[in-house]
């Protein structure tokens, strides 16, 4: 496997070109607060998460919970009107919150890649996908035309496109949604980033193609040590793919931990509710569950736990003051005062 010229990390002046990984983490989000609508509301409050090299971390939550905004903060592409108020995002020791545009250009592609939900809207409809990939290779890795073409064909094969030479000369309109998403992934990994940020990449795909893309991401992780930050509203997809899960609710992280641990021993009432409504994996006849109520409006000012008004086991203390996350197990944290009182099904147990 050819490893292209990876641009050195910005701020790595006196250090070597290899990324410095502190505390074993590749991406570190610390107490991130993001405001929206020109500071009118705080959409993200105190999000902290960690991605270690080769780890697949899943962000799950309803729309409006802040998971997409977090992704965009990591990528440095917050929408207009949004700003980081507090906290930091750092990648391999480099602080991303105040990065200059030039340093971002180095960061994008060579260290952090991205794929999004609708691949067709991120590709130029008039240019062949092959040329869109070689353009990236020629600009970022300064490959010559022939070398770029060869590398592009390699990449297309690596993402599972059959007949890469043929695909090279096709425009987006001639490819299916699944193939386009593979093209996007090829472009995203073309300069060997260490982290891939994927925001709902499979939501718009057919279920059979979704399964193939999930297998592809796992394969890329195994082969290249690619770490993935995967965002979805679908808990089932997250548990299929991810090593760790971070559960978002109303702009906060309410639970985070190993995926299997959370799937089998959820400790936050919201996570438990999500599991009840999600596809549990058996297709037998069952009662379809719902979560009563609605999440609070974005940026709402709520005293204490933000899930309290919908929570079946809320108590007065929950709304008294801010609730801090507590560990309930190895690397498994829950932001809930009752975390240790509940069993897997959300029933109270005697202490």
């Amino acid at each position: 496997m050819v490893i292209g010229n990876r641009n050195p990390l910005p701020d790595a002046r006196s250090r070597s070109a290899e990324p410095a990984i502190r505390d074993g983490s590749l991406l570190r989000v610390d107490d991130l607060h993001v405001s929206v609508h020109d500071g009118a509301a705080t959409a993200i409050r105190g999000i902290s998460l960690n991605v270690t090299p080769g780890e697949i971390v899943g962000l799950v939550g309803e729309s409006g919970s802040g998971k997409t905004l977090t992704c965009r903060a990591v990528l440095g592409v917050l929408p207009p009107g949004c700003a980081v108020e507090r906290g930091s995002v750092s990648f391999a020791g480099v602080d991303l919150t105040n990065l200059s545009r030039r340093d971002w250009e180095q960061m994008h592609g060579s260290h952090i890649g991205a794929v999004f939900q609708d691949p067709a809207s991120y590709l130029n409809p008039a240019i062949t996908v092959g040329h869109q990939l070689t353009e990236v290779l020629r600009v970022k890795q300064r490959l010559g035309r022939r070398a770029a073409h060869a590398r592009a064909a390699e990449l297309f094969a690596a993402v599972g496109l059959r007949d890469p030479e043929r695909v090279f000369h096709q425009i987006p309109a001639e490819l299916s949604g699944g193939m386009l998403q593979r093209v996007m992934i090829a472009i995203a990994i073309s300069c060997d980033p260490q982290l891939l940020v994927a925001d709902e990449p499979t939501t718009a795909l057919d279920v059979t193609i979704q399964a193939e893309v999930i297998e592809l991401l796992l394969h890329l992780r195994d082969q290249r040590g690619l770490a993935v930050l995967f965002v979805s509203h679908d808990l089932a997809v997250i548990t299929e793919l991810c090593d760790r899960i971070v559960v978002f609710y109303a702009g906060e992280v309410v639970e985070s931990g190993p995926a299997q641990q959370i799937a089998q021993h959820p400790r936050h009432p919201y996570t438990q509710a999500l599991l009840r409504v999600a596809s549990v994996g058996d297709f037998g006849r069952r009662e379809l569950e719902v979560i009563p109520g609605q999440p609070p409006p974005v940026g709402a000012d709520i005293q204490g736990c933000r899930f309290a008004e919908r929570c079946p086991v809320a108590m007065p203390a929950c709304s008294a003051g801010a609730v801090q996350p507590v560990p309930v197990s190895y690397r498994h944290d829950v932001r809930c005062l009752r975390a240790r009182d509940l069993d897997n099904a959300g029933e109270l147990v005697a202490r």
Binding site: E212, H233, D234
Partner: protein, 343 residues
């Protein structure tokens, strides 16, 4: 067995006549060089009070089938019969009269597009009644409130426009509009795809309740199998415009007889991974020998090009045949492929 005999065995409850009969329907969309055969020889029966899940991926023709049943598309061959009346053959005026009777209603996929953004909820839900000529405004209002009540919405929304209510509420307004005219068959095209899991389940449960309380037949088109398993009686699987499997949902999901259905089920993500076959076992590997038929060969089995169990016999299209009571499959190897997969 001839095709007609096979179709005749798609029985419902003993002696009952189907409410809807789609008979060997071919649908071609587009003109000239861009004409594409979207449905081929589709046979489908819906009995009163049934809730049927229609499953298929992009390009399967499920939306076209819904539109054909609703009368928006004319079949090139075959016909659609509703309650004994061949509705696909009606002329313009008779068709409009039949539409005004409102016996078949279609709930579209995206309520943002299917609800007029400048109309209030009251006008939207009452439109069918106004078109019918229920002169009395008070009576219309009463029926509108009734329909909204059935979907769990109240009078407070009457003056709002679609942009002023949430996604789940919009979809419920769309359903209320269909209910207001008193249909007997409701076809819902991906009614919950754009909604979060909780709202999705709520609306599916609502449809189940409506089916029971109003005696409706409901067809739910979906690509999400697990939510259907909670409420559907039957599931019909479409692939490239043909029905490949049609049977009771519990049995089909427990042990699907068609490899494509099995692939769908295996691919569906689940929190607990207790399925017996992995998707990779149900796909052709690159090393496999060439399939007995190409992707577009109309004479062959529609799934042959993608099927890891395709044999020479699959070069001829299999008919939809009953295998067990009300369960039918279109596959030559339906009893053998599973053994091959497990080895």
């Amino acid at each position: 067995m001839t095709a007609a005999d096979a179709v005749a065995t798609l029985r419902g409850p003993a002696g009952a006549t189907p409410l809807l009969a789609v008979e060997s329907v071919d649908v071609v969309l587009g003109h000239g060089v861009r004409a594409a055969q979207v449905l081929s020889g589709v046979d489908l029966r819906i009995w009163p009070g049934e809730l049927v899940g229609l499953v298929g991926e992009t390009g399967s023709g499920k939306t076209t089938l819904a539109r054909t049943v609703a009368g928006l598309v004319d079949p090139r061959r075959g016909r659609v019969v509703f309650d004994g009346l061949p509705i696909s053959r009606l002329r313009r005026r008779a068709r409009r009269a039949e539409r005004r009777r409102g016996r078949i209603q279609l709930v579209f996929q995206d309520p943002l597009r299917s609800l007029d953004p400048d109309m209030t909820v009251a006008d939207i839900v009452g439109e069918g009644l106004k078109i019918r000529g229920e002169a009395n405004a008070g009576e219309i209002r009463r029926q509108v409130l009734d329909a909204l009540d059935q979907v769990g919405l109240g009078a407070a929304l009457l003056a709002r426009t679609p942009g002023q209510i949430s996604g789940g509420q919009r979809q419920r307004v769309s359903i209320a509009r269909a209910l207001a005219v008193g249909p007997r068959l409701l076809i819902c095209d991906e009614p919950v795809s754009a909604l979060d899991a909780s709202t999705r389940n709520y609306i599916l449960r609502l449809l189940d309740v409506l089916r029971n309380s109003l005696g409706l037949s409901i067809v739910i088109i979906s690509h999400d199998l697990s939510s259907l398993s909670g409420i559907a009686d039957r599931v019909v699987v479409l692939y490239h415009g043909r029905v490949v499997e049609d049977g009771p949902v519990d049995q089909v999901f427990a042990a699907p007889r068609h490899p494509y259905t099995a692939l769908l089920l295996a691919s569906a993500p689940s929190v607990r991974h207790d399925r017996r076959l992995a998707p990779a076992q149900l796909r052709r590997a690159p090393a496999d020998p060439a399939p007995p038929a190409g992707d577009l060969d109309p004479a062959a089995c529609v799934f042959a090009a993608r099927c890891p169990f395709a044999a020479d016999v699959c070069a001829t299209a299999p008919a939809l045949e009953p295998v067990d009571g009300r369960w039918s499959v279109a596959c030559h190897r339906h009893s053998e492929w599973r053994q091959q997969a497990s080895t």
